[in-house]
């Protein structure tokens, strides 16, 4: 199984050539996306996604609930919210790589509020992690008028939301904070993220 020496040399040259070419392409890519804020916030969202991947299977009941792991993952999300997130969105910071929508700067108070909520509910989740779970499947529905008996369509815009008081959240089931956190992510992605 000995390769001809000529063939080996040629292969080596080709490999080195490809490596250089790939390297150049890689550099181009990085240069094209140089905006450090955009890079930092994409990395931050990936980190949040990773934390969610730890949390979700526990709240879904796919894996055993582990309060310590919940606190750890929630801490990551807590630190990434509030001004840590909004400071990475200077006005007009858009690029091909970024999924941000210009509506962020048209409705900055709402964007900032959702960013604060992210920290609020992640902190709530940390504080509530050891509280008893609500095994009830209808945590979300329970927080909505429409899920309650007798409510009708006319009440559809009066749905109460989770409490915003950290002390209250700390007393409740971790499911309340987790659900509110997910709603916060979803609302922000719906209003301010381009879905390709």
């Amino acid at each position: 199984m000995q390769a001809k020496p000529g063939f080996t040399r040629l292969t080596a040259i080709a490999l080195v050539g490809s490596a250089i070419l790939l390297g150049t392409l890689q550099v181009d890519r990085v240069l094209a996306d140089e905006d450090p804020d955009i890079k930092a916030r994409i990395a931050m969202m990936k980190e949040n996604g990773k934390a969610m991947k730890v949390l979700a299977p526990m709240f879904k009941g796919k894996v055993a609930y582990d309060a310590m792991a919940v606190r750890e993952a929630a801490a990551t999300i807590k630190k990434n919210g509030g001004s840590e997130l909004t400071k990475l969105f200077p006005e007009g910071s858009l690029s091909d790589k970024s999924y941000a929508l210009p509506s962020i700067w048209q409705d900055w108070p709402q964007f900032a509020r959702l960013s604060d909520d992210m920290t609020l509910y992640a902190a709530g989740l940390m504080e509530a992690a050891n509280n008893p779970r609500i095994p009830d499947d209808n945590v979300l529905e329970g927080a909505d008028t429409l899920g309650n008996q007798g409510a009708t369509l006319g009440d559809a815009d009066k749905a109460p939301t989770a409490p915003r008081d950290p002390l209250q959240l700390a007393e409740l089931s971790p499911d309340i904070s987790f659900t509110a956190l997910l709603e916060t992510c979803g609302t922000c992605h719906t209003e301010f993220r381009k879905d390709d």
Binding site: N138, L153, G154, D195, D196
Partner: protein
């Protein structure tokens, strides 16, 4: 020779005329509703299932609940979900239950003019009579709000509304949903929701050049979602390839959270926040059963 040509021309004209006559007169007739008095609580559930709020409410624009929606951009033009509050002038307060049923089952306004299929009557026709009566009762509980949405801006040739009649003749298949006895109850419920009131197919199935759903590519997604969004494929094959289980689908419909740790945004975010998070868990599971079935 000349005579043969003339005869052929006459035949062609007559049959052409016959086809045109058929296309312009044979669109499905409104279904006559035979139901008990509608129940507003049950109807509220039908409203959630049908996702009425997302297209008929502009919460950002400060219009009231169901008082008219924000612009919906499509490859056929820009549409505005109209005011469907019980306001007699600007809403549907002067309608009868039968007018309402004609809109849902035949895509026709009370004056008989056809609606654009951006109003998904091709799906709502799968509702049964009682569900339509219940939904009608639920709409009566909404606060009347005056004011109309802007006129639709439709691209040619569909700016000629009469062309929608042959469109309906060809592409509107009247309901209600007929269960497949070979399949489970959950599968049938899922099929009813996905193709009917939930109208998942309206965005997730690509359309042909006539703007009709291309059923040979059912749920394969595409690039022409609302506002030009990319719509992912949700066929059984695509979902399985990305590792979605039944539990994952039901959970994502409840919370917006996908198995990869991301939460839905864009239009699907609205579907979750306005519709699927309010459903019974059994319905979310039924959707999952249907989507993952071969």
């Amino acid at each position: 020779m000349f005579r043969t040509l003339v005869i052929l021309c006459v035949i062609a004209l007559l049959s052409g005329g016959g086809v045109a006559y058929y296309l312009f007169t044979a669109s499905p007739a409104p279904r006559i509703i035979d139901a008990e008095e509608g129940d507003a609580v049950r109807g509220t559930y039908v409203a959630r299932l049908s996702g009425c709020i997302a297209c008929h409410t502009d919460s950002k624009g400060g219009r009231g609940l169901l008082a008219g929606g924000p612009a919906i951009e499509t490859p056929f033009g820009t549409f505005y979900g109209p005011n469907i509050t019980p306001d007699p002038e600007d809403g549907i307060g002067s309608w009868s239950l039968q007018d309402f049923a004609a809109a849902l089952t035949a895509g026709k306004a009370p004056d008989g003019s056809p609606y654009y299929p951006v109003f998904p009557y091709t799906s709502y026709t799968l509702l049964d009579d009682q569900e339509i009566a219940d939904l009608w009762a639920a709409l009566q509980t909404v606060k009347p709000v005056s004011g109309k949405t802007p006129a639709n801006e439709v691209d040619a040739p569909f700016d000629h509304r009469f062309l929608l009649i042959p469109w309906q003749t060809l592409f509107l298949k009247p309901g209600p949903y007929k269960p497949d006895p070979e399949r489970s109850e959950a599968w049938n419920r899922g099929a009813f929701i996905v193709n009917g009131p939930g109208h998942c197919v309206v965005c997730h199935t690509p359309r042909d050049i006539f703007g009709a759903l291309d059923e040979s590519r059912s749920l394969e997604g595409g690039r022409n979602g609302p506002g030009g969004e990319r719509v992912p494929a949700i066929t059984a094959a695509a979902l399985k390839e990305e590792g979605w289980s039944e539990a994952d689908i039901a959970y994502a419909l409840k919370t917006g959270l996908a198995p990869d740790g991301d939460t839905f945004g864009g239009s699907m975010g609205e579907v979750v926040s306005g519709s699927t998070k309010f459903l019974d868990e059994s319905d979310r599971k039924a959707i999952a059963v249907y989507l993952l079935s071969e």
